[in-house]
Assembly symmetry: C2
Homo-oligomer: 169 residues x 2
DNA sequence: CTTGGAAAGTCAACATAGCTGACTTAAAAT
DNA sequence: ATTTTAAGTCAGCTATGTTGACTTTCCAAG
């Protein structure tokens, strides 16, 4: 079923596929994600917002004018769950929702000045940690990091990720 | 800090530190983590367990006989939160808690046969995804992946991660 | 044109899993 | 003997996920 500690199968360059190596990768992913979210979480905890608000701000900033439905697909939560978050962000004046011109069922989302300010603060902290990690590991490690992460995504999600990279909404 | 044997450290090869590149890394991390947890989540959702139970099973399996306090430090949650999870796992016969021999205040945690079976199922699914990603990206990418993740952890967490790698509890 | 279905969004109610604070019990350390 | 530590419990709060039921709007088939 799974090879637990046997000799490396089929040559020495498959060593990185032993269960032991895979487990290390799994734990690295777990602990690194904690660090990844730590700084924004700290900032948000003081103002009664959470990670969900951060994610919404991030992607609205990334794709101004996006519809609720589009945001839903990217975040991978139910519309009811997202709606609760958006309602607060709109009530607090961080996000602006405009009825669609062509299709009045749609709501197009934008950040207000205030929303942009908070998004900047959050992403600045998160970028600082990422920059430190990138700098410590070097360009080639970064390339490998991105390759493995991309390969780890679900296919559909990877397509969304790649579309985002190209600046399409 | 500096990469060994890469191109000379001029101005241009710091391109991977632009805000744009960092943002791509941030989004890759976000989407990849979704994939990372997707398979265990699917398995667990059918049996009224959640991610918290998975994490507890993983680390008890990893460090049999660990104390509650040690597990607390590794998981980074409050004892009340962990206790809710452990109580269920013990009641359901997945985890065994034994009073310490030397220090009777401590409880040492072990997986039962049933607990080991579930842990195997969960980690098998998660390893399969990791294996696929590793295989697609190749050994050098994997090395870079791990370097960046380690650099992304909080210092204290990184020490715990490295201790785990060496098999200490 | 009307009507019926589909799509987008909203409201209500519930579950999970974090959190803090206050407390008990037992054992170890001082 | 007193204090500290490890573990556990109870109560209550928050954030964020879920389903189900609903309204408004759009579009297309009859």
């Amino acid at each position: 079923m799974t090879d637990t500690g046997g000799p490396p199968a089929g040559g020495e360059n498959l060593l990185f596929l032993t269960d032991e190596q895979l487990r290390k990768g799994i734990e690295a992913m777990f602990f690194a994600y904690r660090g990844f979210t730590a700084d924004p979480d700290r900032i948000l905890s003081g103002m009664d917002y959470g990670r969900a608000h951060h994610r919404a701000l991030h992607f609205i900033n990334r794709m101004p004018g996006t519809t609720v439905n589009n945001l839903l697909n990217i975040l991978g939560v139910t519309k009811q769950s997202l709606n609760r978050v958006l309602r607060r962000l709109i009530a607090d004046g961080l996000v602006v929702s405009r009825v669609g011109r062509r299709d009045k069922r749609e709501r197009h989302l934008y950040l207000s000045e205030k929303g942009e300010a908070l998004e900047r603060e959050l992403s600045k902290a998160q970028r600082a940690r990422m920059r430190k990690a990138y700098r410590a590991a070097g360009p080639e490690a970064v390339a490998g990091f991105r390759q493995v992460l991309e390969a780890m995504m679900d296919d559909e999600i990877r397509h969304q990720y790649l579309s985002l990279r190209e600046g399409r909404s």
